[in-house]
C-alpha cells in the first residue's frame, strides 16, 4: 500500500522536476535584458551575444535606408529607462528632444533589415530587440517606434479631466 502511494509521489515529483527544468532552461535561453544605451556602453563587449531590449531616441539625420536591399541604419541617443526619471525631466517628448540635441550623449548605431517604418523619424523613441555585434553595432531583429508628438495630437480635442 505504501509502495503504491510512494510510486505516485515519485511520479508527481518527476513531472514537477521536468516542468521546473523546462522553465529554468527556457528562461536562460530566451531572457531579454532591458538596457539603456549608457548601460550597454558601460557593459561593452561583455553584453555581446545576450538578447537585449533597448530604448533610445532616433537621431533623424543619421537615418539611412536602401529600399532595394531593405537595409536600414540609424543612430539612437541615450534616454533614461525609468519612467519616474523621464517624468521628472519634463516628459517623454522633452527627454527625447534633449537626447537628440545633446552632442555629449552616448550614441549607438543600429542596423535593421526590413521595411522602413513610418514612424522612424527624428526624436522618435525606438524600442529594439536584438543583440550587440562585435563591431559595436546593435543588430535589431524587432523595431518598435513611438512618436510622442503623434500621441499628443491623438488626445481628443482638448478634452481633459478624464
Amino acid at each position: 500500500m505504501l509502495a503504491g502511494r510512494s510510486k505516485f509521489f515519485i511520479g508527481g515529483l518527476l513531472v514537477l522536476a521536468a516542468v521546473v527544468y523546462l522553465i529554468i532552461t527556457s528562461t536562460q535561453a530566451n531572457a531579454e535584458y532591458f538596457m539603456t544605451v549608457d548601460e550597454l556602453h558601460a557593459e561593452g563587449q561583455s553584453a555581446a551575444g545576450k538578447s537585449l531590449r533597448l530604448s533610445g531616441a532616433v537621431v533623424g539625420e543619421t537615418i539611412q535606408y536602401n529600399p532595394d536591399t531593405l537595409t536600414l541604419t540609424f543612430e539612437v541617443a541615450h534616454v533614461p529607462g525609468d519612467n519616474a526619471e523621464i517624468e521628472a525631466q519634463g516628459g517623454l517628448a522633452q527627454v527625447l528632444h534633449d537626447a537628440v540635441v545633446d552632442p555629449a550623449r552616448t550614441r549607438l548605431t543600429v542596423s535593421y533589415t526590413g521595411a522602413k517604418p513610418d514612424l522612424l523619424q527624428n526624436e522618435a523613441q525606438a524600442i529594439m530587440t536584438g543583440h550587440l555585434g562585435e563591431d559595436g553595432i546593435f543588430y535589431a531583429d524587432e523595431l518598435l517606434l513611438k512618436c510622442p508628438t503623434k500621441y499628443e495630437e491623438a488626445v481628443p480635442e482638448q478634452v481633459n479631466g478624464n
Binding site: F8, L22, S26, N30, P67
Partner: protein, 668 residues
C-alpha cells in the same frame, strides 16, 4: 435622460444584489425558506434590470449621443448599425456591463430550475453569484461608469462626470472617435462575447462547489448538476480563443496567430484549469476520487476568470506602472485574493469529508493517467504564470528588468503539450481501476503499426526536423488509436446487429455520446495540432521591394507585383491596394490583393493578401512606408504550411462538442 436612467437602474440593481446576498445568508442560518425565496426573487430581478441598463446604453450608442463619454470613445457617425450595437463591448466600461448582464442571465437561468432535491444548495448559489455580480456592479458604478458625460465648466474646461459640475453645461461633440479599426472585424465582434460567455459560465460550477462545501453535501451531486455549464463554459472559451487567433491572423498582418502576449495568456489560463477540471470530474463521478482536487481546480478557474476579465480589456499589463495608478487594479486583486482565500479555507475545513472512497493503485489506470493529464496542464499554467510574472520578479530581486518572449513559451510548453497528446492516445485505452503494460499493449498494437511507420514515411519524403517528426508521430498515434476505437465499436455493432456502416456509426455515437463525442474532440485537437506544428516549424518568410513586373520566389511559389491603386474609401479610410499574381511551376494560379488602410484617426490597418489551400497559405503583406509607389513597393511574404488545419480542427471540435453535450432523453 437615458444616461441618468441607465445609471439609476445600475444603482438599483446593485442594492438589490446586495439584498440578495444578505437575505440568502440570513435565510440559510435562520432556516427560513421565505428569506431564501426572497433572495432568489431579488436575484432573478437583476436580469431584467441590467437588461434595461444595457438597452439604455445601446440606445445611446445607436443614436449617436456623443455627450456620453463611452459613446464618444467607441463610435462615430460613419459606423454601420451593427458595429454601433456591438460597440457595447468595444471598451472597458461597456464590456463590464455586458459581463454583468451575462452573469445575471446565467444566475437567473440557474435559479429558475426546480430545486426539490437540492434545496440546500440554493441560498449559497445565490450568495456566490450575487457577490460576484455586486462586485462587478460596484466597479461599473464607482470606477468604470459607461454613462459618464462630457461637461464644459465655467472656466471652459471639459470634464467627464456623471452629473453636472456646478455651472457646467453639457458638451455634445458632433462626432465620436470611432471604434478602433482593428476591432472592426467579424472575428473581433464575436470573439469578446464568446470569451465572456465562457468566463461567466464557469461562475456557475464554482457557485455550486462553494455551496457543496458550505452545506457539507460533498458527494458528486454538484458536479452532475453543473456538468452542462462546465461543458458550455469550455466550448465558449475554446471558441473565443480560436476566434482571437483567427482575428490576429487576418487583421494584424504579422503572419502569425498567437503571440504569447500577456492578454492572450490571461485568456488562456482559465482554459488551462478548466480543461483538466472537465477530465478530473469524470474520475470523481466514476470512482469517487480527487474530490478536493476538483474543488480546488474550480476555485482556481474562477479566480483566473476574474483575473482574465480584468486583463483582457483593460490593457494594464502593457505597463507595470499603470497597474498601480489605476484604481480598478487593487480592487480586482483584493477581490480575487479574498475569494480565493475564503474558498481555500472552506476547502480545508471540509478536507476530512472529501477523502476518497477508493485508493488509487495502478499507475496505468485511467484515473492515474487523468491525474497525469491534470499535472501537465498545471505545468503549462505554471509556465504561463512564470512568463507573466518573471519581469516583475527579476526587477524586484536583481534590479534589472528581464522579460521572456514567445521562444520561451514555445520551448517550455512544447514538450508538455507533446506529452498531453501522447496521453490523449493512451488514456482512452486504459481501464478504470487497473491497467497493465500488457493490457494496454494488447489494445494498441494494431494502431501502433501505422504510427511507427509515420516518421519513417515522413523521413523518406525528406522531413529532417526532429521536432516535427516527433510531433507528427504523436499526432498520428492519437489519430490511429481513436479511429481504431471508432472502428472497433462500429464493427461490433455491424456484426451483432447486422447494421450498415453508417447506421452503426450513428447509433454507436448516439448510445454513448460522451465517450464518442469526446473522442471526436480529441481528433479535432490533434488536427489543430497539425496546423500549429506546420506553421511553427515550417514557416518561411522573406521580404523585398518589388518594381512593377518584378517577382520574388518563396517555397516553390513565384509572386509577381502587377499594379498598385490608392484611393479614398466611402467610410473615410485611405486605401492602398496592390495587385499581385501568384504562380507555381510557371503556371498562373490567382491574383491576391494585400491592402494597407489608413483610417482618419491615423490608425493603420494591414490586410494580407492570402492564397489559401489545404497544404499551405501564401500570405503577402504590403508593408507601409512613406515612399510606397506604383513603381516600387515593399512586400513581406510568409509561407505558412498546414495552417488551415488549425481552423478545420476547430470546426470539428464544435461538432465533437455537440455530439458529447447534446441533451439526452431525460435521465435524471
Amino acid at each position: 435622460m437615458f444616461a441618468e436612467f441607465g445609471f439609476g437602474i445600475l444603482i438599483l440593481t446593485f442594492a438589490l444584489s446586495l439584498f440578495a446576498v444578505g437575505a440568502a445568508v440570513f435565510g440559510y442560518y435562520g432556516k427560513s425558506d421565505r428569506w431564501v425565496e426572497s433572495a432568489r426573487r431579488a436575484q432573478q430581478l437583476t436580469f431584467p434590470l441590467i437588461t434595461l441598463a444595457a438597452l439604455a446604453l445601446i440606445y445611446l450608442l445607436v443614436t449617436g449621443h456623443y455627450e456620453v463619454k463611452y459613446v464618444y470613445s467607441v463610435t462615430d457617425v460613419t459606423m454601420p448599425l451593427y458595429l454601433k450595437v456591438t460597440a457595447l463591448w468595444g471598451g472597458q466600461p461597456g464590456s463590464l456591463l455586458f459581463w454583468s448582464w451575462l452573469l445575471s442571465a446565467f444566475a437567473t437561468a440557474v435559479t429558475l430550475r426546480k430545486w426539490d432535491r437540492d434545496r440546500e444548495f440554493l441560498p449559497w448559489v445565490v450568495v456566490v453569484t450575487s457577490v460576484t455580480l455586486t462586485f462587478f456592479l460596484a466597479l461599473i458604478i464607482f470606477f468604470e461608469n459607461p454613462f459618464v458625460r462630457w461637461w464644459q465648466t465655467l472656466s471652459g474646461d471639459f470634464v467627464a462626470q456623471m452629473f453636472a459640475p456646478s455651472g457646467g453645461v453639457l458638451a455634445t461633440p458632433n462626432n465620436g472617435e470611432g471604434l478602433n479599426p482593428l476591432l472592426r472585424h467579424p472575428g473581433m465582434i464575436i470573439h469578446p462575447p464568446m470569451l465572456y460567455l465562457g468566463f461567466v459560465s464557469f461562475v456557475i460550477p464554482y457557485a455550486f462547489a462553494i455551496a457543496a462545501l458550505v452545506t457539507g453535501r460533498t458527494d458528486d451531486r454538484w458536479i452532475r448538476l453543473t456538468r452542462r455549464w462546465t461543458l458550455m463554459a469550455w466550448l465558449f472559451l475554446s471558441c473565443g480563443l480560436v476566434l482571437g487567433m483567427r482575428w490576429a491572423y487576418d487583421v494584424l498582418g504579422w503572419g502569425g496567430y498567437w503571440g504569447w502576449d500577456p492578454v492572450e495568456i490571461a485568456a488562456l489560463m482559465p482554459w488551462l484549469t478548466g480543461t483538466p477540471f472537465l477530465h478530473s470530474v469524470m474520475i470523481e463521478e466514476k470512482r469517487g476520487m480527487l474530490k478536493p482536487w476538483n474543488i480546488f481546480l474550480i476555485i482556481l478557474t474562477y479566480s483566473l476568470v476574474i483575473f482574465g476579465t480584468f486583463l483582457t480589456r483593460s490593457g494594464v499589463l502593457s505597463s507595470v506602472h499603470a497597474f498601480a495608478q489605476s484604481a480598478i487594479g487593487p480592487m480586482f486583486f483584493t477581490f480575487i485574493g479574498a475569494t480565493f482565500i475564503i474558498s481555500a479555507a472552506l476547502l480545508i475545513t471540509r478536507w476530512k469529508d472529501l477523502r476518497a472512497s477508493l485508493p488509487m493503485n495502478s499507475m496505468l489506470s485511467r484515473e492515474a493517467l487523468f491525474l497525469l493529464n491534470n499535472l501537465l496542464f498545471m505545468g503549462i499554467l505554471i509556465v504561463c504564470l512564470w512568463g507573466v510574472l518573471f519581469p516583475l520578479i527579476s526587477e524586484l530581486v536583481t534590479g534589472v528588468k528581464v522579460t521572456v518572449g514567445p521562444p520561451f513559451y514555445e520551448r517550455a510548453v512544447g514538450p508538455l503539450f507533446g506529452a498531453l497528446i501522447a496521453l490523449m492516445g493512451i488514456a482512452p485505452l486504459s481501464a478504470w481501476g487497473r491497467s497493465t503494460v500488457r493490457t494496454l499493449g494488447r489494445a494498441m498494437w494494431k494502431p501502433a503499426i501505422p504510427t511507427v511507420l509515420t516518421p519513417v514515411i515522413l523521413f523518406a519524403f525528406g522531413m529532417r526536423n526532429w521536432i516535427a517528426l516527433v510531433g507528427f508521430t504523436l499526432i498520428a498515434f492519437v489519430l490511429f488509436i481513436t479511429l481504431h476505437e471508432y472502428w472497433r465499436g462500429v464493427r461490433a455493432r455491424m456484426n451483432a446487429q447486422g447494421e450498415g456502416f453508417f447506421t452503426a456509426l450513428g447509433r454507436l455515437a448516439a448510445r454513448n455520446r460522451r465517450r464518442y463525442g469526446g473522442y471526436l474532440i480529441h481528433i479535432a485537437l490533434v488536427v489543430m495540432a497539425i496546423g500549429i506544428l506546420g506553421i511553427e516549424v515550417f514557416q518561411t518568410t522573406t521580404q523585398k521591394s518589388l518594381a512593377t513586373g518584378e517577382s520574388l520566389d518563396i517555397s516553390g511559389y513565384t509572386v509577381r507585383y502587377d499594379s498598385l491603386a490608392q484611393f479614398d474609401h466611402t467610410d473615410g479610410r485611405y486605401v492602398t491596394r496592390a495587385v499581385l499574381s501568384v504562380f507555381k511551376d510557371g503556371e498562373f494560379l490567382q491574383e491576391i490583393y494585400p491592402r494597407y488602410d489608413l483610417y482618419p484617426s491615423g490608425q493603420p490597418m494591414t490586410i494580407a493578401g492570402v492564397r489559401t489551400t489545404l497544404a499551405d497559405d501564401l500570405y503577402v503583406v504590403l508593408v507601409n512606408w512613406e515612399d510606397v509607389s506604383t513603381a516600387l513597393a515593399p512586400f513581406k511574404v510568409y509561407h505558412n504550411p498546414l495552417i488551415n488545419w488549425l481552423w478545420i480542427g476547430s470546426i470539428l471540435f464544435i461538432i465533437g462538442y455537440l455530439v458529447a453535450a447534446w441533451p439526452e432523453k431525460e435521465q435524471e
